[in-house]
């Protein structure tokens, strides 16, 4: 069983939802990332999503765009990101790490070389934003060889037929994009998301994470009431940006936010009970 699957199984047994904070690797500077990752775990993160900076982050809003630009200004490359994961793994053999990024850096490195290096570094999942299942065959084969879970997005515009196609190739969990928009958008409709997630459960056996638009403890708790995982990106990256000149302060601010999110999720009734209520 992959580290992601194990983690979700353990959370389910404990009746908890996964808290999945996102940071862009190398933001505000490369030396800060591994420490940030450990801090987030200490503050209550269950799974880490690590953004691979790209020059043209088409699906990201301004906050994560600027994080990418800060990281790229330090010359952070995909290989650099993998070595950060390797450093993190040295002290944390358990917390799953999912890379989130765009296809071109992976394509430039080569699928096989990437999958091998990512597996060696201790990467557990790869979410390639601009790679739908239709085009994913060769990368899927390479990731499979490395034992890495391919994570895919589902969107409000995804038909049932496509959802089944995505479910057939996804591993670890599926990531439901809670709104039509880019990361960091601010128009989350929690009731609509709840209905969609409940519907997705009839089509997908994997855990369902929800992200895009979750910005604070209140929205995390609202979404955590029905999702298996809550992904928080721009809100975390905003804290880093506010302290971009002072990495120690950035780490403290991120830990504080992750702690708040954890407390909000832990205040919820057990997930199993919620699931049962939804089934009846």
């Amino acid at each position: 069983m992959s580290r992601l699957a194990q983690r979700f199984a353990a959370l389910r047994r404990a009746g908890r939802r996964a808290l999945v904070p996102y940071v862009t690797a190398g933001d505000p500077e490369p030396a800060a990332t591994v420490g940030l990752m450990h801090d987030m775990v200490a503050a209550g993160a269950d799974i880490l999503e690590l953004g691979v900076p790209f020059s043209d982050p088409m699906a990201d809003g301004p906050v994560i765009q600027r994080a990418s630009e800060r990281a790229l200004a330090h010359g952070v490359s995909l290989r650099g990101v993998l070595s950060m994961v390797r450093d993190f793994r040295h002290d944390d053999p358990d917390t799953p790490v999912v890379l989130m990024g765009y296809l071109n850096p992976v394509e430039t490195m080569g699928y096989e070389a990437f999958a091998r290096a990512a597996a060696e570094a201790g990467v557990d999942g790869v979410l390639t934003v601009d790679l739908p299942p239709e085009e994913a065959g060769p990368l899927l084969a390479a990731l499979d060889g490395g034992g890495i879970d391919p994570v895919f997005l589902l969107a409000p515009t995804t038909s049932d037929e496509r959802t089944r196609q995505v479910a057939a190739v996804a591993r670890g969990f599926v990531y439901y994009v809670s709104l039509k928009g880019v990361t960091g958008a601010g128009h989350l409709d929690v009731d609509a998301v709840r209905r969609r997630v409940e519907h997705l459960r009839t089509l997908v056996d994997l855990p369902v994470g929800v992200g895009f638009g979750i910005r604070d403890a209140a929205s995390a708790a609202a979404v955590g009431a029905f999702a298996d995982a809550v992904v928080v990106g721009s809100a975390v990256v905003s804290r880093i940006e506010q302290h971009a000149g002072d990495p120690a302060a950035a780490r403290a601010a991120v830990a504080e936010l992750v702690g708040e999110l954890r407390a909000a999720l832990d205040g919820l009734p057990a997930a199993a009970a919620v699931r049962q209520a939804a089934d009846t």
């Binding site: 790209f54 020059s55 043209d56 982050p57 088409m58 699906a59 809003g61 301004p62 765009q65 630009e69 790229l72 490359s77 995909l78 290989r79 765009y102 296809l103 071109n104 850096p105 992976v106 394509e107 430039t108 490195m109 934003v129 601009d130 790679l131 739908p132 239709e134 085009e135 895919f152 997005l153 589902l154 969107a155 409000p156 515009t157 995804t158 038909s159 496509r162 995505v166 994009v177 039509k180 928009g181 880019v182 958008a185």
Partner: protein, 408 residues
């Protein structure tokens, strides 16, 4: 004679395939949210492609609003001065709004209206596509938002004002390199957010399927007319076609109806900027390598880590690090050849055509003119060359003056 390198016609004809591929290029590389809307667009485009009433309406618009057919003009004095092949200009500069861009925006806007969309968005580099989009939006009473790199807004201030006069909102894009590629990113972000009521009019043969094929089909009117016109005037097919390549829409529009005519050589001219060897250029086919950007796999200008590079060209319309995927395939198959022309060579051709023919070309088109001079000498008398004069140069006079140290 040496073995010819021409591919079998079927290698390049009838593409893309079902999923938008031209050989290994093209395809659909977008975030999941856009997969549904792109499927809807593909269905609408395929439907109206075969819809006689839609096609009739499009023809009428192209004739009465755009002013088609555009003439095929024998540039006598220029041909004589160059000394070689006969040079013909396909006069897309005479279209309403002054460039080929409007052929595509008229088509896509009609499609948008049929699909019930009320809001149009576009990206623009030189501003020509933005102006052509704002124009048809005004014509059809649709809301229009144009994304433009902040740097391009400075160097194309007149087109910015034109778009505003036409009622469009022009949004400056300050991310990344603040040019065309970033404007495209921003337009995609708008589309993903407002996809219910918004139609995204991409201005060239790039982007995710079906855009490369759809824009090509709307621009192919250039080649269809040119083919009939040259047959009418000379009784035979030309020896070569020459067109500049930014994203590649004017070139593909001219080339496509000739793809099966194996005797017609196809030349795409990229921007060599300050010289390919300096790195300050916009020539992905000549000096880049395949990768994935803006929804398709194609040749790109990228660094060793797969990050997209900044580009340079004196002409904002060619200042783009990618190129339409069908061009990538035409290059690999050898059906078309791609060359590059520097800023200075393009400027020289700009002046030549202005002085010798009284036609002021767009700086984009001037790249094609510069290469056509070389080719005309190479092919010599008796040969016929069609050059796509993709746009007129009024928009560029400030750039030309500034380059020559003249303050207007």
């Amino acid at each position: 004679m040496l073995e010819t390198k021409q591919p079998a016609p079927e290698a390049v004809a009838g593409l893309p395939d079902e999923r938008g591929h031209f050989g290994p290029y093209g395809g659909l590389f977008v975030a999941e949210t856009l997969m549904g809307p792109l499927a809807e667009l593909r269905a609408a485009w395929e439907h109206y492609l075969a819809d006689a009433q839609f096609q009739r309406e499009l023809e009428e618009e192209l004739r009465d609003y755009v002013g088609r057919p555009s003439p095929l003009y024998h540039a006598r004095r220029w041909s004589e001065q160059v000394g070689g092949a006969r040079l013909w200009l396909k006069r897309e500069d005479l279209n309403h709004t002054g460039a080929h861009k409007v052929n595509n925006t008229v088509g896509q806007a009609l499609l948008a209206r049929r699909m019930g969309k009320t809001r149009i968005i576009a990206e623009t580099g030189a501003g020509q596509h933005g102006v052509a989009t704002a124009t048809v939006a005004a014509r059809l009473g649709l809301e229009c938002v144009v994304y433009m790199g902040a740097e391009d807004m400075e160097r194309q201030a007149i087109n910015v004002y034109r778009m505003k006069l036409l009622g469009a909102e022009v949004v400056p894009v300050t991310s990344g390199s603040r040019t065309l590629k970033d404007a495209l990113n921003e337009a995609m972000r708008d589309w993903v957010t407002n996809v219910d009521d918004t139609f995204y009019i991409i201005g060239t043969v790039a982007g995710p399927h079906p855009y490369p094929a759809m824009v090509r089909d709307f621009q192919a009117v250039i080649g269809r007319e040119a083919r009939a016109q040259i047959l009418d005037k000379t009784g035979r097919l030309p020896d070569a076609l020459v067109a500049c390549v930014g994203g590649g829409s004017n070139a593909m529009g001219l080339f496509h109806p000739f793809l099966a005519d194996e005797g017609v050589a196809l030349y795409g001219v990229e921007a060599a900027g300050r010289g390919l060897e300096t790195g300050a250029h916009a020539a992905p086919l000549c000096a880049g390598r395949p990768g994935v950007l803006h929804g398709n796999r194609t040749y790109l200008m990228e660094d060793a880590d797969g990050q997209i590079l900044h580009t340079h060209s004196i002409s904002a319309g060619l200042d783009y690090p990618g190129v339409g995927p069908e061009h990538a395939w035409l290059k690999d198959t050898g059906r078309a050849r791609y060359v590059a022309v520097t800023d200075d060579e393009a400027l020289a051709a700009f002046h030549t055509l202005t002085r010798v023919e009284g036609i002021m070309p767009a700086l984009e088109s001037a790249h094609a003119l510069a290469w056509a001079e070389t080719l005309a000498r190479e092919l010599g008398p008796g040969a016929e060359i069609i050059v796509n004069l993709s746009g007129r140069g009024d928009k560029d006079i400030h750039t030309v003056a500034a380059h020559e140290g003249i303050a207007l």
